[in-house]
């Protein structure tokens, strides 16, 4: 597992100092962070897990998740998840090469291809205004749409990250290729896993920030971390962070060097991470008090992301339902064997 740890640290090094409050404020206003993007792209970190022949950096799903943990921890306002693990891997799967620059994708159930021309729109596309979009239409075809094509209505999530409505009616895709229909489910799972990885990273950053603040800050003559109520919040943040990181790590590791992650492991990770996001944000704000509610403190850029990511790509509830239905279908006797199957060397 140490290769993933090293990769995470390497990305953290690249991002250190690059996601300053000023950069984040600008990104929120302008919808992009070109310097952050350039630094990550230069290092090849934006296309991890996309095979090299397709124009990616190669690597496993676990390595892609390690990158995303670092991206989440830094609150980096760039579509790394979309470019690599999601759209990039989708394009590669369809035998299409990756164009330069940031990519995006989103569920596109209402989009169809009619005689080579798209009809319909896609909702809440991350950075849809500035990224090329790889989308699945008609359940078995991947299309690539160039940046700025179609009619873009800007939108955002709670963290101010672009989530745009893109009307593609009349647009002719830059590339079209058939793909195994199962790729749609795989994309949805990687979408959920990407959010869980981002959450795990952001949760760890919240833990570190909160430990530092409550350790430094004194009240009634001693560090606030020593007050039992605050200490209990810190412990819960730590527990929840480890739960999410473990759920993501296990699901990602299960994909092996080139494969896709196990569906139930992803469902578990998505459910756990969504719950963790809420619990960590709540405990951190309780532990840091009014200071945590100010824009300058830096907690908010993380908690606003936790509150956003937990609902994306289905959200914790729908993945929990999927897991629950699957376990019920498996029956009582396979319940424990399934829960405990874990990883085998």
């Amino acid at each position: 597992m140490s290769d993933t740890t090293e990769l995470r640290d390497a990305v953290a090094d690249v991002l250190r100092g690059r996601c300053s409050p000023a950069v984040l404020e600008d990104a929120e206003r302008d919808g992009g962070a070109p310097t952050v993007w350039a630094a990550l792209a230069d290092g090849g970190f934006t296309t991890v897990s996309v095979p090299e022949p397709a124009g990616g950096s190669g690597g496993s799903v676990a390595q892609a998740c390690a990158v995303l943990e670092a991206v989440g921890a830094a609150a980096a306002p760039v579509p790394v998840a979309e470019t690599g693990l999601l759209a990039g891997r989708l394009l590669a799967r369809a035998g299409l090469g990756l164009p330069d620059g940031p990519l995006s994708t989103a569920p596109s159930p209402g989009l169809v291809l009619d005689d080579g021309v798209l009809v319909g729109s896609v909702d809440r596309v991350p950075w849809g205004r500035s990224a090329a979009s790889a989308l699945v239409v008609d359940g078995g075809t991947v299309v690539l749409v160039e940046p700025g094509t179609g009619v873009v209505t800007p939108g955002r999530n709670l963290a101010g990250e672009p989530r745009d409505h893109v009307d593609l009616t009349g647009v002719r895709p830059a590339a079209v290729a058939p793909v195994d229909p199962i790729a749609v489910d795989e994309l949805a799972r990687r979408g959920a896993l990407s959010r869980a990885a981002l959450i795990a990273g952001a949760a760890r950053a919240v833990l570190e920030l909160t430990l530092r603040y409550t350790g430094d800050r004194e009240q009634f003559g001693r560090p606030v971390a020593r007050f039992p109520a605050v200490a209990a919040h810190l412990v819960q943040i730590a527990e929840q962070t480890e739960l999410a990181a473990m759920a993501v790590g296990a699901a990602a590791a299960g994909a092996g060097d080139e494969g896709e992650p196990d569906p139930l492991a992803v469902a578990a990770a998505a459910s756990v991470a969504a719950d963790v996001a809420g619990a960590v944000a709540t405990a951190a704000h309780q532990a840091t008090g009014a200071m945590g509610m100010t824009r300058e403190f830096g907690l908010g850029v993380l908690t606003r992301r936790l509150w956003s990511w937990r609902d994306e790509w289905g959200g914790g509830r729908s993945w929990a339902a999927e897991l629950g239905h699957a376990l019920a279908a498996g029956g009582a006797d396979t319940f424990w064997p399934t829960i405990s199957r874990g990883l085998v060397r």
Binding site: P228, E242, A247, W319, G324, G342, L343
Partner: protein, 379 residues
């Protein structure tokens, strides 16, 4: 944090299946699972398990054990708890007493006790708690006085599970007056069949009678039954408690409940029930891997005390939330004489409050974890 997803080796995976298959073949079809640690006291079962080498697994071979790794023991214990197997007879002896003997016992004590423990023939209770002391273990009033060839012990211990069925218990007692309330404490191995020992049941909220009060009235304990050093009882007990914190007993009490929920209600789950059940399962999935990671790191020579406290805290809270959630989605009047699921739900509702008490309350555990977190940094 040293939590890292850890794969099992093929041999470890095979061991797990071996245990699982053996349990399938051994437990009767209508077996009512115990709630993890609440598994029943069944000496025959313990002995049968011992013949497979699955009692006292981590005891070294020269003392009659299997010399197994922490992960191997983890896998066996996990299967036993998941099945709700009747492990109560040997549980304390193997989890708590054997490691204490290995660490603090004399060579003679090890040679006498450990093979018997590993054979499922020598069962222990705990002798720590006293009336009115609660979680303040240092408030011990049981006293041992020096006599010829040994000690004479008098006092009262409470919450000694299965003292009416087991052979020994390790008694924490005062062997000398001390300014320091943690000083002057020692541990003695007391034979529960000694003259002067009176065991009486403490009826519990669910009507069960497996927990006892044990009154010691001038009970003679020979010198060779002193565990460790006279006066070092506090340090020894503290080390012992650290040992018991992150095992699968912290999150598997509800497994029988979950399995039987699926058996009786799994066919017609609506989305709300599936969501609630899936959420529980997802959490269990993840907690189990944290716990396994702690076991692996122990085998690798680490001392993951903070991690163990975190797993225990998250595990026991998980268990209580699970009972409440399952009760909600079952949405019925609970019938303690009803179906297997109903019986288990009744037992869980009545017993769940005790799950955050055993082995340190939530507050105590969080205190330990918080100290480690804020002292040593987060990673």
């Amino acid at each position: 944090m040293i939590f890292t997803p850890t794969p099992l080796s093929a041999a470890e995976d095979a061991l797990r299946h071996e245990v699982r298959d053996w349990l399938d073949g051994t437990l009767p079809a209508d077996f009512r699972p115990g709630l993890g640690l609440g598994g029943r006291h069944d000496p025959d079962f313990s002995r049968a398990l011992a013949t497979r080498g699955w009692v006292g697994m981590s005891i070294p071979r020269q003392y009659g054990g299997a010399g197994a790794s922490t992960v191997q023991r983890f896998l066996v214990v996990e299967e036993l708890l998941a099945a709700g197997a009747p492990i109560a007879a040997h549980w304390i002896a193997e989890r708590q007493t054997a490691p204490a003997l290995l660490r603090f016992g004399t060579e003679e004590q090890r040679r006498w006790f450990l093979p018997r423990i590993a054979a499922g023939e020598c069962f222990f209770s705990l002798g720590m708690s006293e009336p009115d002391a609660g979680s303040d273990l240092a408030a011990v009033r049981t006293t041992a006085t020096r006599v010829d060839g040994g000690w004479e012990v008098s006092g009262t211990k409470v919450w000694t599970t299965n003292a009416h069925l087991n052979h020994f218990f390790v008694v924490l007692c005062r062997t000398s007056a001390s300014e320091n309330r943690h000083g002057g404490l020692s541990q003695l191995v007391v034979d529960l069949s000694s003259p002067g020992v009176t065991v009486s049941p403490i009826p519990l909220i669910d009507g069960e009678l497996h927990v006892n009060e044990v009154v010691l009235d001038r009970v003679h304990v020979p010198d060779d039954r002193v565990l460790g050093e006279i006066g070092q009882g506090w340090a020894q007990v503290t080390a012992e408690l650290a040992h018991e914190r992150s095992g699968p007993d912290r999150y598997l009490s509800v497994l029988g409940l979950l399995r039987n929920y699926l058996a009786e209600h799994g066919k017609d789950l609506d989305d709300a029930a599936a969501t609630a059940f899936g959420r529980i399962a997802a959490r269990l999935w993840s907690i189990r891997q944290l716990s396994l990671a702690v076991a692996r790191s122990l085998d690798e020579g680490e001392a993951p005390a903070t991690e163990a406290a975190l797993v225990k805290d998250v595990g026991t809270i998980f268990e209580q939330q699970t009972v409440e959630t399952v009760r909600e989605i079952a949405a019925c009047e609970i019938d303690p004489g009803g179906s297997m699921f109903q019986q288990l739900l009744a037992e869980c509702v009545l017993n769940a409050p005790s799950w955050t008490l055993r082995g340190g309350t939530t507050e105590v555990l969080r205190g330990i974890a918080a100290k480690a977190l804020t002292g040593g940094g987060a990673r």
